[in-house]
């Protein structure tokens, strides 16, 4: 049977979780904001040429929350990796970054977490540098669903690391 991995996207509402998935799965983007409620599940095959294989990613797009404690815990069952998304332009979405990551670590021990700052098309490199002590030190990758910057890289590197 083909290898399949469950990836869950988390973070405040409006940070671009659904947009990142849409960019990755369909390679499209929309400026319109449709609030996600509950969960949408997508599936996409990723080829890993280095390992001469492919993985099917089952991606869970969760309803955004301003407090991770309100996440429906059953959604997290069987997760192989988390992608925690925040919006580099809105402080409210990264103010409690450390606490939110700690929550996940506690709920799902040993599950890898990738922290990504989305909407990097809206800020300068200098801005990201200035905030290195702020959100920077916790961030694995800056991405943009709008331009597609680093989105494929994010998912395929993650898939590869899960093998």
């Amino acid at each position: 049977m083909k290898i399949s991995k469950k990836i869950v996207l988390l973070g405040h509402f409006g940070v671009g979780k659904s947009s990142l998935i849409r960019r990755f799965v369909e390679n499209t983007f929309s400026e319109n904001y449709k609030v996600t409620i509950g969960v949408h599940i997508f599936k996409k095959n990723v080829e890993i040429p280095e390992k001469d294989t492919d993985v099917s990613l089952v991606i869970w797009d969760l309803e955004g929350n301003d407090d991770i404690n309100n996440t429906r815990l059953s959604y997290l069952i069987g997760t192989n990796a988390f992608i925690y998304v925040y919006d580099v332009t809105r402080p409210a979405t990264y103010e409690n970054l450390q606490a939110e990551i700690d929550f996940l670590k506690e709920k799902q021990k040993n599950t890898p977490i990738k922290v990504v700052g989305n909407k990097n098309d809206l800020v300068t490199k200098a801005f990201l540098k200035e905030n290195n002590d702020n959100f920077g030190r916790l961030t694995d990758l800056y991405v943009s669903a709008k331009t597609g910057n680093q989105v494929d890289f994010l998912f395929s590197k993650l898939a590869e690391s899960l093998l």
Binding site: Y33, V35, I37, V39
Partner: protein, 508 residues
């Protein structure tokens, strides 16, 4: 009948399926979706991949997944999914409940709520950005204006000194122009600095008893001349019931009145400017005083009543009306600082009236502390004084030197380093009577040097009067100077009289 209707109109909202522990669908009632049977549930929708490991757990357990979007064979629903497992290898039960209508309502509410939260966050962010920009602007203006003050002090002092030398009539005229244009420049810089203080909330009133009548008399004297120079009549009506001495901020009151009078004269080309002051009432040691400035000038359109009080907003863009346009904004702010309001009524083309009621402290025991007549500063003629000037700007060194030289009563020493100051201070043969201390020296701070003076061993040395000379006179700065043991602050730019006055005050 009922059964028939029920058959026809009931929309199934639930589907039950029995599964094998590996996910194979054994039975399904096709309540929502057809063709579940004989398939592996994980091939029907990727959601079900998650439940496969749970199916194998042979324990009595209910797992609920709420609000899951399912899209199966082009039918889309939002559902709650319940998985029931049992002990003793009883086959697990899967329940899918269609709650699409319910969740769609929830979606609408969440949409509105989230959008408004995000919008308010973005707005807040914009405001912080604007505030930062505003603060930057104010500091920039404040610093920049400070830098202008040293050179301006030089210009004012020397044109003043020059005017006292032997000059032919033409040269006298030139000096006159030099004097009035640099005074005008000083006034503008002061206004800009005031506005930047106002906008950063750093301007406060300092309440002290002062001679109100004398202040008004001086204003009357000056503005009678100013009005006459423009061919205008100046009327002044003083209410004799007014107390002579009141408690308030004399400097800021003068600023309010003169700004209003300057404004009146500026926009009046013929006719008169009238200044009325009257007492409303005295109650509970508070005097409410009415001020009114009436002109017969060009007037203001009603739609502009608000605008004239806004910073940098000159309603009349006509080039012949010079100035920063800050005067009225300052008036409005100062008046509001006393919890009052400035009122304007105007007849466009005929003239305007500005009026306000301001409360002052009034009680018979109020005494004016000490007033030195700026025009007649006198020193004990039989004495000579040693003044130590700590300053590294050559313009200021020269200015002070020239001003003191006119009196022939002072010996001036000029130094700029802390070591030199202390060496000079402990010269017993030639003791320093007063120190004039610049605060922002190139490599040192005057308040630090003052601290060191205050630690000298000899009492009369460490008690020498120290006067700071600086343009930095914000509240925090003044506190700092006081803590360092500085007696008084002379604000840059200063003129001859201000310098002599402050020296006289501390040499007694």
């Amino acid at each position: 009948m009922l059964e028939e209707y029920k058959q026809k109109y009931t929309k199934p909202v639930i589907q039950y399926s029995v599964l094998e522990p590996n996910g194979l669908v054994l039975e399904s009632d096709n309540g929502l979706f057809e063709n579940f049977e004989k398939k592996n549930i994980s091939d029907i929708h990727p959601f079900f991949e998650t439940i496969i490991p749970i199916l194998g757990e042979s324990i009595e357990k209910e797992t609920i997944f709420s609000c899951v979007h399912l899209n199966i064979e082009s039918k889309e629903i939002i559902s709650d999914i319940i998985l029931q497992t049992f002990k003793n290898n009883k086959k697990p039960l899967l329940v899918i409940q269609d709650l699409t209508t319910h969740y769609n309502n929830y979606q609408t509410t969440a949409q509105v709520r989230n959008e408004s939260v995000i919008n308010s966050q973005i707005l807040e962010l914009k405001n912080t950005y604007l505030k930062e920009k505003e603060a930057f602007k104010n500091t920039f203006i404040a610093n920049f204006s400070h830098e202008l003050r040293d050179p301006l002090t030089g210009i004012l002092t020397f044109s003043n000194i020059l005017s006292k030398t032997k000059l032919d009539p033409k040269q006298k005229d030139y000096i006159q122009i030099l004097n009035s244009t640099s005074s005008f420049l000083k006034k503008m810089i002061d206004d800009i600095l005031d506005i930047s203080k106002i906008e950063s909330g750093k301007l406060d009133l300092s309440i002290e008893p002062f001679n109100f009548k004398k202040l008004l008399d001086e204003i009357k004297f000056n503005y009678t001349i100013k009005a006459k120079q423009k061919g205008l009549e100046f009327n002044y009506n003083y209410d004799h019931k007014l107390p002579e001495v009141i408690g308030g901020d004399a400097k800021r009151l003068r600023q309010v009145i003169t700004n209003l009078l300057d404004n009146a004269i500026k926009f009046t080309h013929n006719g008169s400017v009238t200044f009325n002051v009257s007492l409303n009432q005295i109650r509970a040691q508070k005097a409410s005083i009415h001020f009114e400035i009436i002109d017969t000038g060009i007037g203001i359109k009603e739609e502009n009543f608000e605008d004239i009080f806004t910073s940098f907003n000159q309603v009349n863009k006509n080039e012949s009306y010079k100035g920063t346009g800050l005067g009225l904004a300052i008036v409005k702010y100062l008046v509001e600082l006393t919890n009052s309001k400035i009122k304007v009524v105007s007849n466009y083309g005929k003239g305007s009236t500005f009026s306000t009621n301001i409360n002052f402290i009034s009680n018979p025991s109020l005494k004016v502390t000490k007033e030195i007549d700026a025009t007649k500063v006198v020193f004990n003629p039989s004495k000579k004084y040693n003044i130590l000037l700590v300053e590294d700007s050559e313009i200021i060194q020269l200015s002070v030197l020239k001003i003191l030289a006119t009196r022939g009563q002072f010996f001036l020493d000029i130094v700029s380093k802390p070591e030199e100051v202390l060496t000079r201070m402990v010269d017993y043969d030639n003791e320093v009577d007063l120190v004039l201390m610049d605060i922002k020296l190139k490599e040192h701070r005057g308040d630090e040097i003052a601290r060191q003076i205050r630690k000298l061993p000899e009492p009369h040395q460490r008690k020498v009067p120290i006067i700071a000379m600086t343009a930095k006179v914000f509240k925090e700065d003044l506190k700092l100077y006081k803590k360092a043991g500085i007696n008084e602050v002379l604000k840059k730019p200063f003129d001859e009289n201000q310098l002599l006055e402050i020296i006289a005050k501390h040499l007694e």
